[in-house]
């Protein structure tokens, strides 16, 4: 797969290790899904190869839908490795806590628009957290890590996707989670037709009520 040198461990995630490397003169990210000792090897290999194949497909589809994603350079299923463009920028996880309220809400609105574009094209990200969003130096917001994503237009999947975004905001940005999510929804609504938006929002409420011990169910 050409000379890669020298890989530098950038992040040891739960699911994969990200290495920063140089590949044909480019700065790339090498995403390697390492075997998980706790899972049976049979199941482990299945999960890893499935995600290694599907992630680049979804990343590519997302780009076609108008959502900035890293360019895929190489997929090595045997080693569960993907080589892709390195996005230089700042994670929204940090950014949201650093910027002014106005900028924060603007960012959330943009995020909502991007999620809307994904959903419009039948792409569900599957892990919408602010650590999977990077603002590059030119201000574009990139979505990364589509490992848990899928191609579907099912209402349930769209609802869960947004519900996860809400939950991620609540657990990592609880101080301003509510207004952030509200702006995400505004952005989302500007991309999709009103009927779909209403259905998805209803679905989110239904999913939340289904959740255990939700205060809302008391009524």
């Amino acid at each position: 797969m050409g000379e890669i040198s020298p890989p530098l461990l950038m992040k040891k995630g739960a699911e994969a290790c990200l290495y920063l490397a140089e590949w044909h003169g480019r700065k790339v990210v090498m995403k390697k899904r390492l075997p998980k000792g706790y899972r049976l090897s049979e199941m482990d290999e299945q999960i890893r190869s499935y995600r290694t194949i599907h992630e680049p497909q979804l990343i590519h589809e997302a780009k076609r839908a108008g959502v900035p994603t890293p360019t895929i350079f190489l997929v090595d299923v045997k080693n569960s490795t993907i080589i892709m463009e390195f996005i230089e920028g700042k994670q929204l996880k940090r950014l949201l806590n650093e910027v002014s309220e106005k900028d924060r809400l603007h960012l959330c609105r943009q995020v909502g628009e991007l999620i809307g574009k994904l959903h419009k094209h039948g792409i569900v990200h599957g892990d919408l957290t602010t650590s999977n969003m990077i603002q590059s130096s030119d201000g574009k917001i990139f979505f990364v890590d589509f490992g848990l994503g899928e191609k579907t237009k099912e209402l349930e999947a769209l609802g869960v996707d947004l519900h996860l975004m809400k939950r991620a905001l609540q657990s990592t940005h609880f101080k301003f989670a509510e207004e952030c999510f509200q702006n995400v929804i505004e952005g989302y609504s500007s991309v999709l037709d009103a009927g779909t938006v209403k259905n998805v929002l209803d679905k989110i409420r239904e999913i939340e009520r289904r959740g255990r011990y939700i205060a809302e169910r008391r009524s």
């Binding site: 706790y38 199941m43 657990s171 999913i207």
Partner: protein, 340 residues
């Protein structure tokens, strides 16, 4: 048995969220003096809330008496009464709450309503000398991954539908298995799984940090009904799939929070295979693996007593007129001023 000095401070805790009625007594120093559990076992089917509540009412005085005897203290030695205020089954919670209110007003001591999930985490921390773990709490009623952040325990991931323990229980019942005192469904499934060899593909559903077990349960039951697969292999596959899901989410919470302890608790924590899997991710992230002995992992009064001590010694009490039970009291709604 030695009589304890009353000045030391003791809290009696009553647990009655589901099928167990339990009374525990803890000192303010974190010594557990008693932990008596009376389990309601339905003759068949799942827990019927009213029947379970009847069991609690019938056994309350006996369990209380036993707890005092075990602890070697008298009711007047108590400084505070704690009870599980939620989440849980209404009739069961109300029975425990009634006993707690009666005791507190009779003795003229303060009452503390404790969140059941907080209590599970706190007893796990106490028993392991842990400070700040990522907790995987898996039982018949709950499945969540939680960790402390800014004043509260935050839920990082949880089930979107049924609990992991519930999934195993229903599967076991559908397979015609029978649980016995001391051998709940989980233990029976675990034993069968140990003799399973073949991994049958089942739905593996992780959505972000959340999980879903209902599809897995339906698929397993459908496979079971086809009748051409060995029960051992099905138990094995069900366990491996369900456990891999919760462990994947736990690992992600661990990687995200970078905490240095992992606590496994709840009734399903007794499963050796699950323990092995959680230990494996703990080691991989240089975190310490913690779990609790069964009597403190299942629903128990000692954890309510200990959480009551923590709350009471940090100025948190529950006036009688605010002591109504909260069936859907979420973990992150509770402020925990005793955690820094």
């Amino acid at each position: 048995m030695t009589r304890r000095k009353p000045m030391e401070g003791c809290c009696l805790g009553i647990e009655s969220t589901a099928d167990d009625f339990s009374v525990g007594i803890a000192t303010f120093n974190g010594e557990i003096l008693a932990n008596i559990i009376s389990a309601y076992m339905p003759p068949e089917g799942g827990i019927h809330p009213r029947e379970a509540a009847r069991h609690h009412a019938e056994n309350a005085s006996k369990v209380l008496e036993e707890a005092f005897k075990k602890a070697g203290i008298k009711p007047k030695d108590l400084s505070v009464i704690a009870f599980s205020q939620g989440p849980g089954l209404g009739p069961c919670l109300r029975t425990g709450a009634t006993v707690a209110r009666a005791l507190a007003s009779y003795l003229g001591v303060q009452l503390v309503g404790v969140n059941h999930c907080v209590a599970h985490i706190e007893i796990g921390k106490l028993k392991n000398d842990a400070e700040d773990p990522v907790t995987l709490y898996v039982s018949g009623g709950n499945t969540m991954v939680a960790a402390f952040d800014a004043g509260r325990y935050r839920v990082f991931g949880e089930t979107l539908d049924i609990a992991l323990g519930n999934c195993l229980d229903v599967f076991a019942r559908e397979a015609g298995l029978r649980q016995k005192p001391g051998e709940p469904f989980g233990a029976i499934v675990e034993k069968l799984a140990r003799n399973g060899r073949r991994l049958i593909p089942l739905p593996y559903t992780v959505k972000g940090m959340d999980m879903s077990f209902s599809g897995l349960l339906t698929a397993s039951i459908n496979m079971l009904k086809k009748g051409d697969l060995k029960l051992e292999d099905l138990c094995y596959s069900l366990q491996e799939t369900a456990f891999s899901m919760v462990v994947e989410v736990t690992e992600r919470a661990l990687a995200h929070t970078e905490k240095k302890e992992v606590l496994l608790t709840g009734g399903v924590a007794a499963n050796r295979r699950l323990q092995e899997m959680v230990r494996s991710i703990a080691e991989e992230h240089d975190a310490r693996f913690c779990t609790v002995p069964k009597e403190f992992a299942v629903d128990n009064g000692a954890m309510i007593a200990w959480a009551g001590v923590l709350a009471f010694t940090h100025g948190v009490t529950t006036p009688i007129d605010e002591s109504f039970v909260k069936l859907r009291w979420r973990l992150e709604e509770v402020e925990v001023p005793w955690v820094k």
